[in-house]
Structure formats: structure tokens, C-alpha cells
Chain length 204, copies 4
Amino acid sequence: MSPKIVDREAKRQAILAAAIAVFAEKGYHSTKMADIAQRAEMGKGTLYEYFRTKEELPKTIFGLMLQEFDQQILQLEQVHSDPVDAILAGIQLCFQDIDEFAHVTPLVFEVLGNKDLDRSIGLSEDFEQWLESLNRFFLARIQEGQSQGQISVDLPAPIFARMLVSTLDGMATHYCMFHFQPEFFTAQVNVFSDMVKSYLVTPK
Amino acid sequence: MSPKIVDREAKRQAILAAAIAVFAEKGYHSTKMADIAQRAEMGKGTLYEYFRTKEELPKTIFGLMLQEFDQQILQLEQVHSDPVDAILAGIQLCFQDIDEFAHVTPLVFEVLGNKDLDRSIGLSEDFEQWLESLNRFFLARIQEGQSQGQISVDLPAPIFARMLVSTLDGMATHYCMFHFQPEFFTAQVNVFSDMVKSYLVTPK
Amino acid sequence: MSPKIVDREAKRQAILAAAIAVFAEKGYHSTKMADIAQRAEMGKGTLYEYFRTKEELPKTIFGLMLQEFDQQILQLEQVHSDPVDAILAGIQLCFQDIDEFAHVTPLVFEVLGNKDLDRSIGLSEDFEQWLESLNRFFLARIQEGQSQGQISVDLPAPIFARMLVSTLDGMATHYCMFHFQPEFFTAQVNVFSDMVKSYLVTPK
Amino acid sequence: MSPKIVDREAKRQAILAAAIAVFAEKGYHSTKMADIAQRAEMGKGTLYEYFRTKEELPKTIFGLMLQEFDQQILQLEQVHSDPVDAILAGIQLCFQDIDEFAHVTPLVFEVLGNKDLDRSIGLSEDFEQWLESLNRFFLARIQEGQSQGQISVDLPAPIFARMLVSTLDGMATHYCMFHFQPEFFTAQVNVFSDMVKSYLVTPK
DNA sequence: CATGAATGAGTATTCATTCAT
DNA sequence: TATGAATGAATACTCATTCAT
């Protein structure tokens, strides 16, 4: 905790913040290291004292993002209400800090869309792993509900779980990329949640 | 008097096919014109006989894609069954030719993620317009169902419609990008469809 | 003189005329072979049936030009009036067909200015040779005038002759490149001629 | 805190000197940026730190040249001897720093000869303006001499003035391009000057 | 002979990264 | 440690030339 270390950490954060801002404005490929240096109000050379390459910036950004996602998963796993409520809570939890990540969405798109870049950053691997965790959570709750007789055993659990994962991601993505309207979005999540609830508890 | 006879249209298609293939493999920015030329089995210069710039390739690819999307919208508008059935038919229709477009998805991601590129290609504008058409279709059917007493007037139509649009896109995207399993996907769309049906016809 | 040969020659001339026109409009380096073909109303490939390379076009154009220049020199040498009159006649003769060559002047400039191009076309060599012939003509007449007592022996003949060559070229160049006004030009040549005459016959 | 210290102006001059040298050797179009970089003993990229494009090099070179030409015009206008002497002084002044510009002449030729290049560099416009200034100087002195009775009013002043401009340029050009012999050149200018003097003061 | 489709060598320019200060 | 000047690999695009028809 020497002041040196605090300074270094603060500078690292400043660079990351600048990078996020510029990446969000122009996209990864259109952003020059010089742009980031300017935004961070430091020299180009200094960036390289903190990050060895340009690619290390999105790598770090995604690392932080996925760390938060993992927190989310941990939170999910601590939800101990009855299965259906847990699923509904999970849906809400997914969007808890969405505004915080909204401006990184275009960067995620650009990296996921470029296999070369993705390979060396490893985003899709980590991202799919997160999707899988989410999927596991929903699947476990559904199966729990089925074994408790609360959810019909006719419901194809793995399919429904994966459907939840992709539809939730769809809503989040549309909010971040095309339709940035918080209240509307909340309402949307609520109808969706209500629909899911009705479907799960209705006997088939 | 008898110049070389060439099927220009066929060659254009061949180039486009090569471009789509290489873009899908490496992404737009990582693809060199030389890569496309090699894949199309022709010289670099020949590409420029058919497309003036590199950007014109995705532009053309998206143009064709959006043309098909427009066809889809036209088809949607010709669905004249009762409102709820129309909505369910619409959901199915959305995924009708999905495999045809699956390999363009990463390219769409990369372009949508890079504001600079998107601006000069104009993809997001056209894409959002398509989302809006889809939204209008669902909204109209829901309102129709409400005025006919089939769907509860308590359902917030605009919100539900937009939710459908984003969730459908989410499922399609996940299928194309992360989870390319046709049968699983069909099943997923079917549960979703069933859930929507139940929700719409259940009195609140 | 078979019709074939006449046809070929006519086509050669057509290409040359087109080349001269386009070179005059845009300059050598900015002219594409395609431009010349279009102007000559034939296919690009046809040009190569008549001229092996692009450089061969200016080479041929300059060849014709210098051929005319040689004719001029021959004409000069047939002037058999007294020395001073011969010099004055020579001055006029220099501008005899100037309008015919005016539009080639920029091409001459561009080639003379580019040593690489000049080397492979060999223009400056031929051009300087022509200047030298002109110089020899003037020098011979002056020396003739001096030996006949008509021109002062104090006049430094080689220097005066070379001065004539460069000043005449200067007037021609300015007419062709900067000040294309025929009447004004004629008047200019006349004062110059009159000045030379006065100077030559005035005893020092 | 202590960045590399560099004399940017000196480096700019070094690049310019290298550019002038290489342009003189090969011509503008045959010169690659890599050639200039090599001559200036630096990397290609460094050139672009000082000049945004290749065209900016001749543009700057001509700018400096024309600046000197303007100085010359200013000097001319400060010549306050009697009209004929002023004209003779003007003739000498024209060649004052000729050696300094001699090696730029081919570049001037190439640019003036290529309309495309000339348009974007704007040389001929500036050059003709300079010719015009020179012309105005001679015209004014001649008319002054005529109103003072020193020069015959029969002399067509505008024509004679323009004739001076083009013949002086002719001598300068030949010196720089074809006949680089300083002593010979000086003698040539002197006979010319002497001839002009005789002509102006001789009553018609 | 005539054509224009195909070709690929050639070149200006950009930008991530290095390194002298 | 911080800097920004220097670097050169990398790449889209052009155009003289070739050659199948």
C-alpha cells in the first residue's frame, strides 16, 4: 500500500477508463493508441508502462467485466428461495448493473465479431463460460422445481434454461445497442418475468 | 471483335461468396483483400473490377441480407390468421432462413461494434429499421387481439412487442454465434412460442 | 501501299492524335492508357498492337516534332540572303509552325523535368542537339557577317548566338505555356527582331 | 519529464534538402518517399511527422522559392536610378541568385507540365503572378523613360516589357537546364543587356 | 486483328511499438 | 518514471501490360 503502488494503480485505472471511453466512441480498430493517450492526458509511451500491447486493454476490460459477471453468478447461487422465485430473481439480477456495462457492448460486439482478435483475447471463451454458468443456474432451479412438483415435468428443462439465457441476453443487448430507454427496459423485463412465472407455474 | 466473354454476375457472386467466407473466418479488419482474392481464385486487381473498395463488400452483403429481411416483413404482413396465431407464425417466420445468414453474423457484430465502419456502411440504420418493422407487426397484432377481446387489455402492448423483438433476436444471435445446434434451437423456439401463446390467451 | 498498310498507318495516327490530346489535358503521368484508348475510340489492347509501351507514345510524338525541327534547320540552311537578313529570317522561321507544337509543350516540360523518363525517351539529348543546330546556324551567319565587315568583330559571336537560341526559346515557351496571344506574340517577335537587327548593324 | 529534444526546424530543412536532391536526380514521379527517407537518413514514417503528404514537399519547396522571388521583386521596386539603368539593373537582378534555384528547375518543369499536379500544388498560378510582377516593373520603367523623353514613344511598351520577361526567363532556363556554364552565362546576359540598352536609347 | 477482363508489381500512407532522453 | 520522436511492417488500391476469345 505504498503510495507508489497506489499511484500506479490509479494510473492504470485512468488508462483503462480512457480506453473504455475511446473504444466506446470509435470502436477498437478505429482507436489509435495516441487517442487513448490523449484522452488519458499522458504520453503514448506511458501507456506501454502499464499495458504491454493494445490488445491487453480490451483483455483487461473484459477481465473486469467477467469478474463482475462471476460475482453475479455467485449472488445467484446464494438465492435460496423456492425455485420459481429464484428464477425470477435471477432474471432481475442479470440486469442489475447493466448501465455500468452498456458502453462496453460495442467493444464486445467488435471483438466477438472478429475471430482473429477474439482468439488472441479469448473473450468468447470466457463469455460462453459465463452463459453456461447462467444456464446451469436456471437448469438447476427448473429441475429443482420439477422434483418438488412445482414445475411440470413436461417442461424440457435444458431447452427452457438455454432459451432463458439467450432471450435475457437479447433484451440486454437491445437495451445497450439499440434502445437505451431505462424505464421502458424495466417494464419489458417485468412482462418477460411475469410471462415466465405464469408459464412455469401453470400445469401443462 | 470477339472479346473474352465473361459472366460478370457469376463472378460478382463468386467474389461475394469468397468475401463472406473469409470475413466469417477472420473478421472484417483481419481480412486482407489478398485473402479474398486468393479464396476467390483470382488476382487482387480483379476484385476491384467488381467492387470499388473493400467496404463495398460488406455493404453489398448487408444489402442482400436486408433485402431478404424485407421479404420476410412482407410475408409477415400477409399472415391473416387470428392475432395470436399471427404472432406465433411471426415468431416462426423470423427463423425461417436463419442458417442462410448464420455465417454473416460475426460480420454484423464487427460492423455494428465499430461506429466508424458502421457509419460509412450504414448497417445499424437499416438494421434498426428492420427491428422497427418487426416491432410494428407484433404491436399491430397485439392491439388487434386486444380490440377483439382475445388478448387482455392489461397487457402493455408496446412493451410486449419490443420484448418479443429483442428476445427473438437474442435467440437467433445465440444460435448463430454460440450454440449452433439446429434441433435444440427449434425446440427452444417452440417452448418460447408456447410460452408466449399461453401468456397472451390467459386472462389476467 | 496496300490498303492494309494505309489502315494501319491511319490507326497509328489516330492513336497518336488521341495521345497528344490527352497528354496535353492531363500530363503524361496522370494519363492512363485507358484514357487514350477511350479518346481514340478503341480498346486498350489495340494500343499495344501499334505501340509496345506507354513510353513509346511520347517517344514517337517527340520524334515527329524533332523531325519537323530538322526540316526547319534545313530550311534555315537554305536561306542565302546576306548574314543579318539570314539571322532575322531565322528568327521568324523559328516560330513558323509554333501553333502546331504549342499543345505538346507541357508534355515536353514534364519529360524534360523527369530525368528518369527523359533518359529512357532520350528527349533532352535530341532537343539539345536541335538547339545546337540552331546555335550553329546563328553562329555561322554572325561570323560570316563579321568576315564581310557587316557585323562588328567586337561582337562575341558564340555568346550572342547562344543568347539568341535561349531567348527565342524563352519567347516560344512563354507563348505556349503562359501567354497564348498570337497577335501580341507576333508583335513581340518583331520588336525582338528589330532590336537584334539594330544591334548587329550598329558599329561598336 | 524529459522527452527527447529535437530541433524540428533543422529536421524539416534536412528533409526538404533531401527531397530537393532526389527530385532533382529522378523527377517527382519517379521519386519514392522511401528514396527521400533514405537520402535524409531517416525512416519513411519520420517524413510524415513533418510533411503530411508527398505533394506537400514540392509545395513547400516552391513556397520558399516564390518567397525569394517576391524578395527580388521588392528589391527591383527599390531601384531608383533613371529608367534605362533601372531596366538594366532589373535584368541583372533577375539572375542574382540563379544558382540557388538551378537544381529546382527540373521539378518546376515537371510540375508545370502536369496539369493535375500543378492544380493541386498551385505552382503555375503563383509563377505567372511573379512573371506579371516582373512585367509590371519593366513596363513602368519603359513608360517612365518615354514620358521623360529618354525612350522613344514609338516603342510599344507592353510588348517590349513582355518580350523582356520571356527572353530573360529563356536565358535562365537554358542556363539551368541545358548549358550550365556560369561565365558563358554572365557574358550572355551582358550582351543581351547591352543590346537592350542600345535599343532603348537609340532614337527610332 | 481487336478487345477488355485479368493480373500483380509497385507505392503512399498509417500506426503499434520502441527507446533515447 | 514519463515522454513523444522515430520507425518500418503492413495494406488498400492503381494501372501498364498480357492474352484468351
